[in-house]
């Protein structure tokens, strides 16, 4: 069963409290701190009281426990079944060759049962040995925080080399591609498509070179687009679901008219522009002027095509 107390934040919080109590008598403030970390905003009102009042008979008044072993839980069948299902995913090899194998359970699903119908067809080559090797090195560099020397195939130009201090990997479900986000000495924040990387190796330089005080990478610039729409052809739900992955706000203006604001990073502007266009006359952008100008430019150009 997926919705089970076995997986609950409360069981996890209590397990952490009992683990501490096996090591030393736990204080009220320590219990509170564990609950704040492991459970939810209002859990501090219930968990410490339930233990203190001995409704949950797991902790003595002196902060010790009748348990003799740190609480652990074997993997459930559901967890094994999920792991067995993802073991058949082509991306699994990116994470190593020792795959989970649970002969005693059926996979939770089979790859052929799930179809992502609008994913782009030119995703990264997850079964290419060179790609796998580079991915593993990059992932290790992200986790262990060391700089990389990377050779990249340019879109039109010949290959170029950069040194980059990696921060994280970004995966796009629509593009089915990984991007490496990091910092270069000359250009600050930089993003590299893994599919364009021809070669990479540990740079062997110090990370301090990348983080001088005067070259701290600026956070991505954000843009907020404001749209107005009339709820016809189920436009409201379609727009709100479509932009549900961004910070957004919706408000009713009157009757069937709504205003929706969507905030995104500047580097996504071109993508957002065509996504807004895809809603046709169902939505009208009212701000910012620069975004409206881009829409007008596209429509003017469309009109010049004779339609």
């Amino acid at each position: 069963m997926m919705f089970s107390e076995l997986y609950s934040a409360y069981y996890n919080a209590v397990a952490a409290i009992l683990k501490a109590a096996l090591d030393h008598p736990v204080s009220k403030s320590e219990i509170r701190s564990i609950v704040e970390k492991k459970a939810f905003g209002e859990s501090v009102l219930t968990i410490p009281a339930a233990l203190e009042e001995e409704r949950w008979q797991l902790l003595h008044p002196d902060g010790t426990t009748p348990l003799s072993h740190p609480p652990t839980l074997p993997m459930t069948n559901l967890e094994k079944r999920w792991l067995k299902a993802i073991a058949a995913d082509p991306r699994i090899r990116l994470f190593g060759d020792d795959l989970p194998d649970f002969p005693d359970v059926e996979p939770l699903y089979r790859q052929e049962d799930v179809i992502v119908f609008d994913r782009f067809a030119d995703g990264d080559p997850y079964e290419d040995a060179g790609y796998i090797e580079r991915f593993r090195l990059i992932l290790r560099a992200v986790r262990e925080r060391f700089p990389l020397k990377i050779e990249i195939q340019g879109r039109r130009a010949s290959p170029r080399k950069i040194e980059l201090f990696p921060d994280h990997l970004e995966y796009s479900e629509k593009d089915d591609k990984f991007r490496l986000v990091g910092v270069t000495r000359r250009h600050g924040r930089n993003t590299v498509n893994l599919g364009r990387i021809l070669a990479c190796e540990a740079a062997g330089t110090s990370d301090e070179d990348f983080f001088r005080e005067d070259s701290e990478p600026a956070p991505p610039e954000q843009v907020t687009v404001v749209m107005e729409l009339t709820n016809r052809r189920n436009a409201l739900e379609r727009v709100l679901l479509h932009f549900a992955n961004y910070q957004k706000e919706a408000e009713r203006l009157d009757g069937d008219r709504y205003r929706v604001s969507v905030t995104f990073d500047r580097d996504e502007e071109a993508d957002i522009l065509i996504r807004v266009l895809s809603f046709g006359p169902m939505v009208r952008v009212t701000a910012p002027d620069s975004f409206i100008a881009q829409i007008c430019q596209k429509l003017n150009r469309q009109k010049s095509c004779g339609l």
Binding site: F3, E170, A244, K303, C305
Partner: protein, 416 residues
């Protein structure tokens, strides 16, 4: 009943989370489907779990609550928290930790009387020691055996219980990634909760988080598909506030990476058709009998797939398949356009007409589904044709309406 942060049924909160996250413009007074007290309780729970993402707006109609999450800025789906709120009794949690402590090693097998004796010993030091009757403990052990964490083995006339062998957790990065990208990813989040270390090597773009609320429905459908069963799905039409039972044969799950919507594709014997059901409209799934012709239906679905653009298998024109074609042009510095057509064409064909023009064509069950995608090429469409005349006229009318919306007269310089 007194308010509790924990809940018994995930279905109750599913609607509220969807409402706060996807819509977020309705005031307390507009939540007519439940009582005001119920609304207050659900809002309080969501605030307790997801307070950092919760925002409020005061309007003339009242105070609106909404969740605003930039999925690109987070490592883990915050809505997973809803799955970790299951209610339990004082007895449940006490028995759980004591039992798992008594059966701490997979090497030690114990009978029920031995376990009961140890339980009594462990609660003896409390002011009002809890005692557990045989039936309660047996029931809990049976439940845990079904979950796979306890094994029951016959020892002559008695049954002995032992903990299941621990399995090593996979690499944390693997769990970080697949918990966000694989179906029922919340299960990966349960596994991540077993480890204390933080890694967070990944972020996700074009990532829709609400689908997690349908995970239990999805898992039931996966089971039925594996067992080749008929199912009864209870669906809700939210526009009409109507609930209906559908007897269907589940054949596949289709997911949109561009909107996060998830659909069940199923054969409906009553209409002899394969059709789609949105997962977030399915309230429950009940497994029925095995479907004898399951493989034939699955093969039929596979044959249909190349003509399904999105998820629709019907149209309003009455034709079996509808035809769509359009031509796009590009400037010399826009070579990404033919590449875009190639990677987004699905079951369609792309024909190069000359150095700067391509024609896309496709036969689909429902050409209405192509229209949003076609509009994303606005600024470069030179011709289009639909076999469905109504849609052809609508597409042209929509373009004219867009010109009017933005005051496009065609007199401006296109690059102005």
């Amino acid at each position: 009943m007194a308010y509790s942060e924990r809940i018994k049924d995930i279905g109750r909160i599913r609607d509220y989370l969807r409402e706060f996250f996807v819509f977020g413009f309705r005031s307390r007074e507009e939540f007519t489907q439940k009582s005001a007290r119920s609304y207050d309780n659900e809002k309080r729970r969501v605030e307790s779990w997801l307070g950092e993402y919760m925002q409020f707006r005061q309007t003339a109609e009242g105070k609106n609550v909404f969740l605003s999450i930039d999925s690109r800025a987070m490592n883990h789906n915050p809505l997973f928290k809803a799955w970790k709120t299951k209610s339990f009794t004082d007895r449940d949690i006490t028995l759980h930790f004591l039992l798992m402590d008594i059966l701490a090693s997979p090497d030690a097998a114990m009978s029920l009387p031995e376990i009961l004796e140890k339980l009594d010993g462990m609660t003896a030091g409390f002011r009002d020691p809890k005692t557990f009757d045989e039936s309660t403990v047996r029931k809990k052990l049976k439940e845990y055996a079904e979950e796979g964490i306890i094994q029951a083995e016959k020892r002559g006339r008695t049954v002995a219980y032992r903990r299941t062998e621990n399995s090593d957790l996979p690499d944390r990065a693997l769990l970080d990634f697949f918990s966000e990208t694989a179906p029922c990813g919340v299960v990966g989040s349960f596994l991540l909760d077993k480890s204390d270390d933080r890694d967070d090597a990944f972020t996700f773009k074009h990532h829709y988080v609400t689908g997690t609320m349908d995970s239990e429905i999805l898992a039931s459908l996966f089971d039925a598909m594996r067992e080749k069963r008929n199912v009864t799905v209870e669906t809700i039409n939210r526009h009409k506030d109507r609930v209906r039972e559908n007897h269907v044969v589940p054949l596949g799950i289709m997911i949109s990476a561009q909107s996060g919507r998830q659909y069940l594709m199923a054969h409906v014997p009553r209409f002899r058709q394969i059709t789609s059901f949105r997962l977030d409209s399915i309230l429950s799934v009940k497994a029925d009998e095995i479907c004898e012709w399951y493989d034939d239906l699955k093969a039929r679905f596979e044959r249909m797939r190349s003509h399904i653009w999105g998820v629709s298998t019907h149209n309003e024109s009455g034709e079996n398949l509808e035809y769509v074609e359009f031509t796009v042009c590009w400037r010399d510095d826009e070579t990404h356009i033919p590449e875009r057509l190639e990677r987004e064409k699905r079951g369609g064909s792309v024909e190069r007409l000359d150095g700067n023009r391509c024609r896309f064509s496709v036969w689909v069950y429902d050409s209405r589904e192509l229209i949003p995608w076609m509009r994303s090429f606005l600024c470069r469409i030179t011709e289009f044709r639909f076999s469905n005349q109504v849609l052809e006229e609508q597409f042209a009318a929509d373009i004219r309406e867009m010109y009017a919306l933005y005051g496009i007269t065609g007199e401006e310089d296109e690059d102005a």
